[in-house]
Amino acid sequence: MRILYFAWVRERVGRADEDIDPPRSVTTVLELMDWLAGRGEEYAHAFAGRGTIRAAIDHAHVKADAKIAGAREIAFFPPMTGG
C-alpha cells in the first residue's frame, strides 16, 4: 500500500511517500493514522493533530472512517489552500 504525504505532514514525517504493510487489524483511515503515529517520533509529531489531517484514497477525498481495504494509494495532507 502506497502512502503519500503533503505539505506539513510531509515535512514532519520527513518523506513524501513510502510503501507500508499495516496489520490486518487496521481497517479504516483513522486506524491507519493511529498505527502510523506509533512508528516513531516524526510520525507521532506529524499525526498528533490528526483531527485536522485530511485523507484521500486513490485520488478521492475520504473521511476518517473510510475503509482502506483495496486501496492502492492513500494520501495524508492538511486542509487545502489552493486557488
Binding site: 503519500l4 503533503f6 505539505a7 506539513w8 484521500a56 485520488h59 478521492a60 477525498h61 494520501a75 495532507f77 492538511p78 486542509p79 487545502m80 489552500t81 489552493g82 486557488g83
Partner: protein, 165 residues
Amino acid sequence: MPSVAMTTTTIRLQVEDFDAAGEAAAITRGRTDIGAVVTFAGICRDHEGGACVRAMTLEHYAGMAEAEIASHVEEAVRRWPLVGVTVIHRHGRLVPGDNIVLVVTAAVHRGDAFAAAEFLMDYLKTRAPFWKREETPAGSSWVSAKKTDDVAAARWTRGGRDAAE
C-alpha cells in the same frame, strides 16, 4: 434545427504563467452564440493578514489535482448551461504580482457564467489538493485554510443561491 449543446473544457496544471486574455479568446474564437464571458484571475499578493509576503510555493498532489478539478468542471457543466470552461492552476514558486489561478466561463447568459466561475473558485479553494507555503521576513510557513472559504463553498451544496436562481 437546434444546435447541439457542446461545452469546450480545458484544464491545465503548470509551472509556467498563463495568458488570461488568450485563454478567454480561445473559448470565444469563431463563435457567435456566446453572450457572456467571465474571467477570474487569482494573483499572488504581497500581504496576507497583515504580514508581508515575499514569495509563496504551491505544492500539489499530481494526479488527484487534475481529477478533482475535472470533476468540479463536470459538475459546473451539469449545473449551468456553459459553452466553455477553462481552469488553469499554477504550482511551484511564485512572487507577488504573479498569476496563480485562472477560471474562464462562457455562456449564453451572464448569470450562468458568473455562478459557474464563483462555484469553481470556491471549490478550488477548498477541495483541490494544493497547499501554499509563504515566505515572510519572519520565516516561511504553511498557509492555514480559511473558514471564509469553507463558508463560500458550502453555499453551493443546498438552498442558498442555487435554489434562488
